[in-house]
Amino acid sequence: MDGIVQLQRQLVDYTASLFHEGFLDDQFNQLQQLQDESNPDFVVEVVTLFFEDAERLLNELSKALGQPSIDFKKVDAHVHQLKGSSSSIGAQRVHRVCFAFRNSCEEQNVEGCLKNLQQVKHEYSLVKSKLETLFGMEQQILAAGGSISRCGWLDATSIFLRRQTLLQLKGTLILVNFFQIGEMSPGQHVICRQDPKAS
């Protein structure tokens, strides 16, 4: 049991760091909220789709920007899609670079576009690797017989606590079962009740 708690704690810390460093934003919390027993793989499914979509778009962008005569409308359309999907999963840094990228397209600035493409590729590969690490940690916990804690807390501006999660209460980590209780702020006092209420 100790080993699982340790893994869970690492997951919580790692997740918090991703928010803290701006890789993920609140939308990722929203995604996690949509996952439950009836849809246990929702987050992984959506994020996997994002990876596929992003890779396709990055390829298209490389091709489009490699043309002798660049079709900026086409480039902008691809960036618009990438901007949308990154925003939908909470990949904040990727989303941010897309703003600059669209500006470069508007200005028909080739150098700007090429630079932005490199930036977005870089941010994408970073967030991909981070999320893969995150999912790997979750798999470890599940394999060890534990459950996944869902909370982007302390460093996130919006905090959603859900189902079974690890709660830091007066310095001690305890595993609790409860229902979604809405938004909380960092450092907010929480009262835990032992109440075996059925879902």
Partner: protein, 146 residues
């Protein structure tokens, strides 16, 4: 546990992005809506029973001959879509005798007042900024056609 049998509201969600379709579907299902998703405005119109001929003539007499058991209580559509946009779809729905009373909600990633006003003026009930969240979906129930 008591079993309650409730008529479910049926929402038609239109978005060319697969990721966004997945998200909106999940959000709507969590709120107990029955959901149909399509990836284009054209497919949405087909689903609603307005087929190709009607798109050109808006001949509602012909439209009424096509018997559709589809009962849609709300349409939620993305604004920016290739081909027919969400705005075009909104207009077609509002111009159709058989469909104009179905509430339409527009989603967009861009917060442009001119766009928002255009949509509201054309009869959209709400304009939601993407990414759409649970709180946004909670706003929809009051708009539903009974």
């Amino acid at each position: 546990m008591a079993m309650t049998v409730e008529a479910q509201f049926h929402v038609l969600a239109v978005d060319d992005s697969l990721i966004d379709r997945m998200l909106i579907e999940r959000l709507l299902k969590i709120s107990s809506f029955h959901v149909t998703t399509v990836d284009s405005a054209t497919k949405a119109l087909k689903f609603l029973g307005l087929v190709e001929d009607e798109l050109r003539t808006f001949d509602t007499h012909v439209a009424s001959e096509i018997h559709q058991d589809i009962d849609v209580n709300l349409i939620i559509t993305d604004y920016c879509m290739p081909g027919m946009t969400g705005y075009d779809l909104l207009r077609k729905i509002k111009e159709s005798k058989s469909l104009k009373n179905i509430p339409v909600v527009i989603m967009s990633s861009e917060n442009l007042p001119s766009r928002i006003n255009r949509c509201l003026e054309e009869g959209a009930e709400e304009f939601l900024l993407k990414p759409v969240q649970q709180a946004d979906v909670n706003k929809l129930k009051p708009h539903l056609l009974k």
